[in-house]
Structure formats: C-alpha cells, structure tokens
C-alpha cells in the first residue's frame, strides 16, 4: 500500500526527517510514537503534500504511484486522508457543502458524475451516525465553534465520507475526553478493512487500547529506531523514551 524509503525532509534549513523507512501493507494499522520534536507531525504533513516542508531525499510509493510527484489534491483524490491534529475553521462554508465539494472532487478523479443530492444526503446520514455527529454540526460552518472533541469527530466523519485507502491520524486523541476518544476510536475501527491501511500518530498509549495496532514504531530524531507489536506501546507508556535513546541508539 505505502512504502516509505529513506525519506528525508526539512523545514527551512532544518532537517527533520533523516532517512525514514516504513512499509505498510493493505489492511494494516501502524502506530507511530515518539518524543516531542521527533518528526511525527512532519511525517504526516509530508505524506499529505504540505508545501512548507521540502523533501530532500528518499521515495514514497503509494499503490504503485510516486506519491512525492503528486500535489496535495491529487494525493487526496487518490485515496490518502489526513485527520488533522488541529482541524481548520472555515467560516461561512457549511460542513455539508465542504464535503460535497470534496466528494465530487474525488468522483471527478474517478471519472464519475457529481453525486446526486439525495444520494449525498443519505451518505451523510449514514456516515455521521458512525461518530454520532448530529445534524446541527453537519450544517454549521466547517469546524467553526466546534469543541475539541467535535472537531475530531468531524475529522473521522470526513474520513468516512471519503473512504480513503490510506488514512493518517495525526494525534487524533489529543484534547479528547474518554467518551469522545471512544466514539472516535469506534468510528475508526468500523472502517478497518483488509484493503484499507492506517497510520496512527500518537503520544499516548491510551488511544491504542481502543485502536489496536498491528505494529508500533518509535520515531526518534527523524528515524524509526525501534519497531514492535502493540506491547511495545505498553512498554513505552511505562518506561518513557529515555531507555530507547540510551539502549538502542547508543
């Protein structure tokens, strides 16, 4: 599905990713953990095609295509989704109209006609129920005046609407209380399937109790330094990152 090889990226003159390797197969859920400043969010941004970051080396293959050659819109339309750590507010644009533009963008890419009004509304209804997003939030301006939890639920709602092949969740658990965390995780779990992959970026093991990963990787200073199964997350929770820096890197 996704094959990242020796990926290097910097912002301005500062290198952030320093040769990152990661292969994600269809249906797999990978978690990336790591201390602050290790490059987790940069990885998410680079994969999504944010131009603030310059890719200085390496390659990313996305279902046989050269991901780094595609612009952000193309990546999205080809099935890459990023759930933002800080979802953006767009005043005056209703959530519904926003999603309609997004869905039709993808359909255009797939050579399909724009979705019919009735079909669209049915789709909205179906997907909104996944994350308990009520009608009020659907019709309000995109993320405007949403609570932290509502914004994250809205991200997962959008993901469900767009049915991506590969979804990157960037610290989706930050700012969530236990109930919201459960709702968001249930939404994600409902979407797990043999031909959809996830990359879950998180600081805390807690999220991984709900979204159980197949693999856990530790990112330190722009590289993956340790990989394991879900038990690695428990160990990190207990011992922190310092032992890795000492044992693994040294």
């Amino acid at each position: 599905m996704v094959n990242i090889k020796e990926l290097q990226a910097s912002i301005g003159e500062t290198p952030i990713l320093k040769g990152l390797n990661l292969e994600i197969k269809p249906g797999e859920v990978h978690a990336i953990m790591g201390p602050n400043g290790s490059g987790k969010s940069t990885l998410a941004s680079v994969l999504a095609g944010r131009e603030d970051y310059e890719v200085t080396g390496g390659a990313v293959d996305f279902e046989g295509q050269d991901l780094l050659e595609m612009d952000a819109t193309e990546r999205a339309r080809s099935g890459l989704f990023l759930a933002f750590q800080y979802p953006v507010e767009i005043p005056g644009v209703s959530n519904i109209n926003f999603m309609r533009a997004a869905v039709n963008g993808k359909r255009e890419h797939d050579g399909l006609e724009p979705i019919k009004g009735k079909d669209f509304l049915n789709l909205v209804k179906e997907k909104a129920s996944l994350v308990e997003l009520d009608g009020r939030l659907r019709n309000r301006s995109v993320n405007e005046g949403f609570s932290g939890g509502e914004k994250k639920r809205n991200e997962i709602f959008q993901m469900a609407m767009l049915e991506p092949r590969f979804a990157v969740l960037d610290e989706t658990d930050s700012g969530l209380d236990i109930d919201a965390l459960r709702i968001v995780a249930n939404g994600v779990n409902a979407m797990r399937s043999p031909d959809r992959s996830f990359l879950v970026i998180t600081h805390y093991q807690r999220l991984l109790d709900y979204i159980v990963p197949d693999f856990v990787h530790v990112l330190v200073d722009g590289k993956i330094v340790l990989s394991g199964d879900k038990d690695l997350a428990l160990k990190l929770e207990e011992k922190g990152y310092d032992w890795i820096k000492e044992d693994v890197i040294a």
């Binding site: 990546r75 999205a76 989704f81 644009v93 926003f98």
Partner: protein, 482 residues
Amino acid sequence: MAYDGNDKVLEEVTGKSYEFGFTTDIESDKAPAGLNEDIIRLISSKKEEPEWLLKWRLDAFAVWQKMKEPDWPHLQYQKPDYQAISYYSAPKQKKQLNSLDEVDPEMRKTMDKLGISMEEQKRLSGVAVDFVMDSVSVATSFKEKLGELGIIFCSMSDAVKEHPELVQKYLGSVVPTKDNFFSALNSAVFTDGSFCYIPKGVRCPMELSTYFRINESGTGQFERTLVVADESSYVSYLEGCTAPQRDENQLHAAVVELVALDESEIKYSTVQNWYPGDAEGKGGVFNFVTKRGICHRRSKISWTQVETGSAVTWKYPSCILKGDHSVGEFYSVAVTNNAQQADTGTKMIHLGKNTHSTIISKGISAGKSHNSYRGLVQVMPSADNARNFSQCDSLLMTDTSGAHTFPYIEVKNPTAKVEHEATTSKIGEDQIFYCLQRGIDEEQAISLIVNGYAKEVLNQLPMEFAVEAQKLLSISLEGSVG
C-alpha cells in the same frame, strides 16, 4: 511558503484578458468632445426635453464649473480631462421595436455574449430588463405586465416625456445637483438611465433589472436612475454591469436616487464588473457614483453591492433616515485585484426617532490593490433612540495588497446606540491546505473560502444574482493567493 505553481497561476491570470472585453460595432450618433453650454443644449434638444430640464442642467453645469474634483479619497489616479470626453452618443436605431427580432443583430450578439439574452431573461427568471447600451435604452420588456399594476419602469428619457410631473418632483430631491463634483457633472450631462415608480400599496411582483454597458470608445457614461416607492409599496431592483476593454480610461459618474415613502421598502442590489484595466490598471473604468436614498416614516432601504470591477471605485450608497422608525441597510462585498483601487462604503444619516441602520462591509484585496472602507454614521439631535450596527471586515489575499478602514461616527443625541466591529485577516494557508487535503483543488478552495467569508452579504442578493455574484468573486480572484 507559496503553493506550487502559484506564481505561474498568478501570471496567467493577470495576463488573462478580461472575459467581457469585446466591443460592438454599431453606428453611433456622437457629439464632439468637450463640455460647454452648447453641448448641454445639444443633449437636451436631441432628447426633446422640456425647458425646465434644460434649465436644471445648465444650473448644474454652472455649479459644477465652480467645484473641484475631490481629493480626500484614498485613491491615486490621473484625473480625467473633462474636455476630452464626448458627452453624447446614441446608437442609431431608426424605428420603434415591437419584438426582440427587430433588435440590431450586433446588439443581440453583445447580449448573448454577456449571457443575458432577452429570451433567456424572459424564459428563466421572469426579470424585466431595461438594457442600456451607450446611454439609450434599446429594449424594454414586461412593460405591459407591470403597467397593469400601475408600475412605471422605463428609461429616464421616456419618463421625462411621459411622466414629467413625477420626474420633476423627485429628480434631484435626494442627490441635489450641488451635492458633489460628480453629481453636479451628472446632472448637467446625463443622457439616460432608468426610472421606476411603484404606486401606493403595490408589491412589485418581479425583480426589476437594468444592465448597463459602456460601449462607445471615449464616451463618458452618465446614467441617472430614480426609483420612487409610494406609500406601502415594495420593489426589488437589480443593477449589473460589464464593460468592453479599452485603452484609455473610461469615466462613469452615475447618480442613483431612491425615494421610499411612508411604510414602503426598496431593495437595491448591484453586481458591478466593469473592466478593471490591465495588470497595471491601464484602461480600466473610473467609477464615481453617487447613490443615495431617503426613507420616510417606517420605510426601509436596503443597498446590497458586489463590486469586483473598475480601475478606480468611489462609491458610497447612503440612506437618509428621515422618517421615524425607518431602517437603512448596507451590505457590501468589494473585491480588488492587481492594481485596482476602491474607496467605498456608506453613509447612514439618522434624523427620525427610533431609526435603525446596519452596515456589513466585506473587503477582499488581492494583487497589489488597495481597498478602503469609508463610512459615516451620523445621529442628529432629533434622532432619539437611533441604533446602528457596523461590521467592517477585510480579507487580504497577498502581502502586497492593502486594506484600510475609515469609519466616521458623529453622535449628537445621547440616546443613540452605535456599535462598530472591524477585523482584518489574511486568507489562511492552513484553510487552503485543509481543502486541498480533502481533494478540493486550489481554485475551488479559494472560491469556497471567499464565498464563505462574503456569505452574509451574498445572502442578501436575490437568488439568480447571488449565483452570478459567486461566480464573479471566484473569477476575480483566480490564482490570486500569495
């Protein structure tokens, strides 16, 4: 930080020629350039005007000669040479028209290009169109249907001939000839425009619409519009403009007067898309317009404007809230791109008791343009319990554009309540990236964000106009983020 290919897109757009930049080749009857009493007499006689109107024009001309062009706006432009302009030009149309088929094919083509062909208008929207091309109306429709209700909707020339008592009573009653430099000039030389009268208690059943179009090279356009809503009547009036591409600047100094008698309501909506000039602003239209309405007891005037065109805009649609409990509203979106300059806003003059006014202004600046909001809220001693709410927002698309706000508030009555809110923001790269990541392309992303920003104003427009206005906003700002 720029998005991929942004510079290229910007170049492409600024290099792109104005979509409506075409001219129609129609024989015209044109006065020699220059302005003096003889020219005014010529205009008046060509139009077979009564003596009182000629005298009115000459008085205005005398006043104008003593006036100076205003230099207080936040605008920089080469002041027009008023003696180099031809003040009269009328397409030669020899016979009376009974149907659309008789309209000059060239003119029909122009209308088709504008996407406002009469057939389409008739079929789609039920809008009566008074199409003004170079100062003389060439086609008027739906006149009969309106006539049944006693509504008068015709060219100003026809109104002078057919309803002189109404014209004489109200012309210049809201915007006196000596009001300002441009209104005085307009009063002296106006050649045509629209006249509308809604009788007592009548609710006009359709949106009245006028499309203006400047056509003759080097001809100033001096439109005069007068809308009178008699007691307890209602009318919604639409005005939309496009203009052909030109090398020299084209002056447009229109005057619009609205009279809302007791308990009536006038809704006046404008979508303005005149040629803004090339990327340097060369050749664009100068738009110096005086628009004002007077509100009598319990009446309401609502101005809505979407301004995307012109090289230079100087325009302050205003309300004089004379009657008790009268209401004035101003909703505006002004877009400037490239080298465009706009100094626009409103004046709300509170005279009556319990008068209310609302001002919502949304400025959008792109390229290296400058966009100024200038507003006056004046509460006179007689205006007990006057209320005003003003909101002036500015959106910057580039680092090289400018947004300026000049709000003036004069309150002479202690019971008044005046609120003013203002914000300035830059279009967010975060917002754009969020859209891109959802599979929405950059042009559409900007369109969504800008239309969202302007939504409060666009919502005030009649449906068919709102759609057109949204398209215009998007076209005006294509590739303009930087």
